[in-house]
Symmetry: D2
Subunit: 134 residues, 4 copies
């Protein structure tokens, strides 16, 4: 199974702040886009997972901001699965602008059902998990 994926997108005006830079709180949605597209590239579909009643929730997110980005900058985000256990899914992120590292981050996700009960990711992902964790 594919373990990493890179997407490219531009900084929107709405994502900047009065300092003239990409606001630090607006990186989290990028990391989520990275996960969405990595999962799609793996043949999965996060929206369908939710329709089936499984929700991946962020339990921890750590971000280091190395350099500012500006409106209209074209950024490249590399998203990588670093660990998959029955209960946790861990990712690492590297955000670049033309080879310059802008930010690096890591996240830990858990999986819940509609009622908020913790799900075993190994069971939710099924065969994909087998393949992945092997």
């Amino acid at each position: 199974m594919l373990r990493e994926h890179t997407i490219e997108f531009r900084v929107r005006y709405s994502e900047t702040d009065a300092m003239g830079f990409l606001y630090h709180g607006n990186y989290a949605p990028f990391f989520e886009m990275g996960r969405t597209e990595l999962f799609r590239a793996q043949g999965g579909n996060y929206r369908e997972m939710e329709e089936r009643g499984y929700f991946f929730v962020v339990a921890k997110l750590t971000t280091q901001f190395h350099a500012p980005a500006k409106y209209d900058d074209l950024l490249q985000l590399n998203t990588r699965v670093t660990r998959l256990s029955p209960a946790k899914l861990e990712h690492e992120y590297k955000l670049y602008r033309d080879g310059t590292l802008i930010a690096s981050a890591s996240s830990v996700l858990g999986c819940l059902d509609r009622a908020g009960n913790i799900q075993r990711i190994s069971e939710v992902l099924g065969p994909a998990w087998e393949e992945f964790s092997s």
Copy 2:
């Protein structure tokens, strides 16, 4: 029934943009806060409405931006119900900073149930509607 209400809040750093001003796209959440608090001041509770299965959706929003606002500005928002028909709920908004009009807006809301079917606001609001529309 109370037809208008004023709230006060500060512009957050996250709401500014690279021009150094409150981003124009961040006014819509303020108007929604105005509706939430007007409804609370009327004795209603929008969250409970949703829990009962009724959703007020914005069908139209018009905003005029008269003057910029900046980070940490203390703003006053006046929200007023201007029209209540069985199918539509209309509001007007005036956003001030110390008496200076920053923005004015108007919205039209409809009411849907969980399945997306249009609801008669007169029935959803019940006695409150009677009182209000009289």
Copy 3:
């Protein structure tokens, strides 16, 4: 000069709300993306305009919401210049999902310098304006 342009993008999870839909306040950034990309397709660059000291500010925005959109929906936004006068720049927007009209909007922009003084758009755009308005 090119008068209209279409872009395509996906609804992000961060743009949804508790109703399960694309939040109505998150359409304004899309319209701005439409203007940015229309201007780029015309050979302009809004970021460079700002670096030269000219800021296009939204004076009025009207949006009609026709149908909801959901997380991961692939949307098409058509942006069109409808009027260009020395003082105002007007656009219209049509947002679609696979041919279904989700929202339509119109905006009026003015141009300011760093000090907040109104600029004549005809002079800011120069030859492009001549061509455009003819």
Copy 4:
């Protein structure tokens, strides 16, 4: 000097996501509000700092999400300065709903001038720093 401060605010509809909860990416603005208000309670004013040409930038942010929050929840955020060195300012955050810990976080800030040069926080804050670090 005051080392901690608590603010209270409601979750806005615009801050929720399709899961029905406060979106995890919308906590960062809360922590910034906490810093702004702690600094104000200390007699400082972050906006004036920026007007004088000093910008506090987030170098690292770590957030742990313990329990979900919903629209209209009334939350209490405790912000505490944990470390102040000449080059770094560190905070910890505890976000509660009626005594239940919703999230905990920590951040590291640096200080830059308009040109992006790193500033010594001890010099920027002046006497306040002396008092604080003693």
